[in-house]
Amino acid sequence: MSLTTLPLLQQFVLVLAALVLFTSFVLLSQARLVSAIHAFAWQGGLAAAVTTVVAAAGGSTHLYFSALLTFALKAVLIPWMLHRLIRRLELERYVESLRWPALANMAAVVLVIFSYWLVLPMVQQELAFTRNIVAISLAVVLIGLWMMVVRQQAVAQVLGFMSMENGLFLAAVSATAGMPLVVELGVAFDVLVAMVLFGVFFFQIRQSIDSLDVDRLNRLTETAEEEAAGAEFDATPRRSQPTAARPAAMAEGE
């Protein structure tokens, strides 16, 4: 058993990393936007906690700063901004259920195994106790991207994007015990700016197509063929018409 040989602090890191992965799954399958934002905040908080514990275990002081920065940004500021955003967009009660939630989850499980498989050769070189976390971080990144694929709602997609960033951050912390502080500040700033820009875009998108359903961005192309191609995504033509109409009704604050 390799786990029992690790010091307790390092085991704690593993537990926290596993919880980060769990929040990724929660994000993926959470139908209510508000709850998804909460899950995202938890994920940010956990990522900050991982950083703190890694700092404590490895004794690198600059990681404390990045932990603080992560916490302030990912667990407090961005969730708060998103919250405000959806309040202003009147999306508090928005519920978007995935069509096949179990399949989406299974696919995410497959992604976890896949990223484990990718990382195995690296793990075998024996970097540090955190080596196993690299697999988890990669899985968090991939699930974030997967979330952007399966979700129709633009805010949910932003959450997916942000959680990808969480995964990258986790990878950086676990694989190399953190990036230089300058880089981290830069990344944090980028994320913040991205968030502001997303906010601006949301209002723009909604003004032009009355919805934040990204599937409906298809309409911005001029030909009707494209739209037919979009409708083909649904299995049967019978169902395609309601799907076009339904999210609009929901976005209006059903």
């Binding site: 096949w100 179990a102 399949l103 484990y116 195995l120």
Partner: protein, 667 residues
């Protein structure tokens, strides 16, 4: 020739005699009932005895028949593996032979002549026995085709109904596509092994790539016959339309012959196992198990439901075989053998309980002429023995202790839990997922059979002819009773069974399960009792004892039992139409997991102002797999049809050209 082989040969002779006697049924239909079926049962007894003898003796007996081609005489071999499958064939045939006369009696007044029924039943049994005995590819393929063809005629027995004819044709088509794949697989082995005899194939050394090709062909061919997803769609069409005792043979035994073929081909003839095959088999097996049981859950035709459940059980068997391949291929013989034994145990179990359930469905059909669950109800009080036996079958198939299905499920889980021995981290995480699928399958099977039993046997009768159902004759009861008893026995005495089954891996894979029986007959263990153990006799005995004790203690109070109307929360006394139907029972699960199928559900207004609930459940395999192939074949044949000009001289021209080409090739 040893006694065991002589007994099996006797079984073949008796089966042929049963077929021959049936020819007289054109004159006197009673011949089938009075002579053919008893001969069939005797053939079953002989096969059972011979197979068990071979299994217990643990040595391989070979013989050469004075038949076949001049340079390729037919060779037969009876080793532990074929002995086991012979015994499986024998025991179900015996039960069917006991059950058959009563069931056939109901068909005597029908329009269909009984000659094909009796005749092809005998040939069917002959074919199956010959497949497991064959020791060269030639005899194997001949016997295989005999089995497929004779069962085709049995599927087509009720040929008045166009749907049955279509099902039979589909069955024939799939059987031959599968047969072609198997033939090609043998071709690969034969080309490396210099000859069609199995001995030569065993001795052959294949390059890994060619071994994989042979494996793929065998898996395609035998998997098609075994009804694995996505090639299963013919099975639920074909099996239910045959007469019920034949359905029992087809689902209970013929699918096992396909498993036999796969095991013989992959574990024995190819020999050098690669673990990647295990992953493929495991994935397909898991898919079959899950989709099979979900489809079964949504059916309301009893026999069709049972046929889908066969897909599921074959999936479980292939999960076991996949695990065995995985472990053996990566150099872990002990868990590999464990998984292998689990698969074989499930082969036996499924033969018994699926045979039993099909016989039970046949008994219902016989006495109430009903296959639709929605019309049944309250049959337990009208047919108590059939009800009891069916309940035992349902408990067995739902993998509940202390019945036999549980033992094989326990073994499969235990072998999956040996995944920590594997080296690859990914494999270690894939195997538990397969066991999750198995667990989900097991729970859904229980839901399915609660539905079947609750709707068919409990509650009140939903139609007049079911209300008039009468108990079936003794012979039919005896056939079911035999299988039900065996289900219980195999569940209570797993150690003895595994001790016997051990001969197969010892002969085939060079090692058995030394520790599983080390604790004596009382307790089934893997390595030692601190790791895992299941003492089936104790569990069964304690269950029975404490139940008896509880009944005795509480009855002792002499409190009255009063019969009254059902309470039902104080609503009007419930009538038969207020009961939950089979469709209603499955509705929640249909809503949660039904996406995997094409479920069309609607409430449409009826002419008289009422409403009508419509439900159609389609199998996605048709749209995803069969129809594209069918379209492709059609397009290809449309090209070929241009050759058909209708002019005789053009045909003769083609003949001449073919002749010239052939002459050129052989010169």
């Amino acid at each position: 020739m040893s006694a065991a082989l002589s007994l099996v040969a006797l079984a073949v002779v008796l089966a042929l005699a049963s077929a021959a006697v049936s020819l007289l049924a054109a004159r006197a239909p009673t011949v089938v009932r009075l002579y053919a079926m008893p001969l069939f049962a005797l053939a079953g007894v002989a096969a059972l005895g011979g197979g068990l003898g071979a299994l217990l003796s643990g040595e391989a007996i070979t013989a050469t028949l004075p038949l076949g081609l001049p340079w390729l005489p037919w060779r037969v071999r009876l080793d532990a593996l074929s002995g086991f499958f012979t015994a499986v064939i024998g025991v179900v045939s015996l039960a069917v032979g006991l059950y058959g006369p009563g069931y056939v009696r109901g068909l005597e007044k029908g329009r269909d002549s009984l000659v094909p029924l009796g005749g092809f039943s005998g040939l069917f049994l002959t074919g199956m026995l010959a497949v497991v005995l064959a020791d060269d590819a030639f005899l194997f393929m001949v016997a295989w085709e005999l089995m497929s063809l004779s069962s085709y005629f049995l599927v087509a027995f009720h040929h008045d109904n166009p749907a049955n004819r279509r099902a039979a044709f589909l069955y024939l088509l799939m059987a031959h596509v599968g047969g072609l794949a198997i033939l090609l697989g043998y071709g690969v082995l034969a080309s490396f092994g210099d000859g069609f005899a199995f001995d030569a194939m065993r001795a052959a050394t294949l390059s890994p790539a060619w071994a994989s090709v042979a494996f793929a062909l065998a898996f395609l061919g035998f998997g098609m016959k075994a009804g694995l997803v996505p090639l299963h769609a013919w099975l639920p069409e074909a099996h239910p339309v045959a007469p019920s005792h034949i359905s029992a043979l087809m689902s209970g035994v013929m699918l096992k012959v396909a498993v036999y073929g796969f095991v013989r081909f992959v574990f024995d003839l190819i020999g050098d196992i690669q673990w990647q095959w295990g992953v493929v088999v495991l994935a397909i097996g898991s898919l079959s198990a899950l989709l099979g049981v979900l489809a079964a859950l949504m059916q309301s035709d009893l026999k069709r439901l049972l046929a889908y459940s066969s897909v599921e059980n074959l999936g479980i068997i292939f999960i076991g075989l996949g695990l065995a391949l995985l472990f053996l291929g990566s150099g872990h013989p002990l868990p590999g053998v464990l998984a292998f034994v689990a698969a074989l145990y499930h082969v036996l179990n499924h033969a018994l309980f699926k045979g039993l359930l099909f016989l039970g469905a046949g008994a219902i059909l016989h006495s109430s002429h009903e296959r639709d669950l929605e019309q049944m109800g309250g049959l337990l009080r009208r047919m108590p023995w059939t009800g009891l036996f069916f309940l035992m079958g349902a408990l067995s198939i739902s993998a509940l202790p202390p019945f036999n299905g549980f033992v094989s499920e326990w073994l499969t889980f235990q072998s999956a839990l040996q995944a920590w021995r594997l080296d690859g981290g990914v494999l270690r995480s894939v195997v538990p997922i397969a066991s999750a699928v198995l667990a989900l399958t097991g729970a859904l099977v229980a839901a399915t059979f609660v539905k079947v039993y609750g709707v068919a046997f409990l509650g009140q009768a939903r139609s007049r002819h079911v209300r008039r159902a009468r108990p079936v004759p003794h012979g039919m009861r005896a056939g079911q009773g035999l299988l039900a008893l065996l289900c219980l026995l195999l569940g209570v005495m797993p150690v003895a069974v595994i001790g016997t089954l051990n001969a197969i891996p010892e002969q085939l894979l060079g090692g058995g399960l030394p520790d599983s029986v080390a604790q004596g007959w009382l307790s089934l263990t893997l390595v030692d009792s601190a790791n895992a153990s299941y003492s089936a006799p104790l569990v069964a005995a304690l269950l029975a004892l404490i139940i008896a004790l509880a009944v005795w203690m509480l009855r002792g109070k002499a409190v009255r039992v009063r019969r009254c109307d059902a309470w039902d929360c104080g609503f009007a006394p419930p009538d038969a139409r207020m009961q939950y139907t089979a469709t209603a029972f499955a509705q929640p699960i249909r809503r949660v997991l039904g996406h995997l199928f094409l479920v069309e559900e609607a409430v449409v207004p009826r002419g008289d102002g009422g409403q009508r609930h419509q439900l159609a459940i389609g199998d996605r395999a048709w749209g995803l797999f069969y129809l594209p192939v069918a379209r492709w074949v059609e397009a290809a044949s449309r090209r070929v049809v241009r050759l058909q000009s209708g002019n005789v001289r053009v045909y003769l021209g083609w003949t001449l050209a073919t002749l010239l080409v052939l002459l050129w090739i052989i010169s």
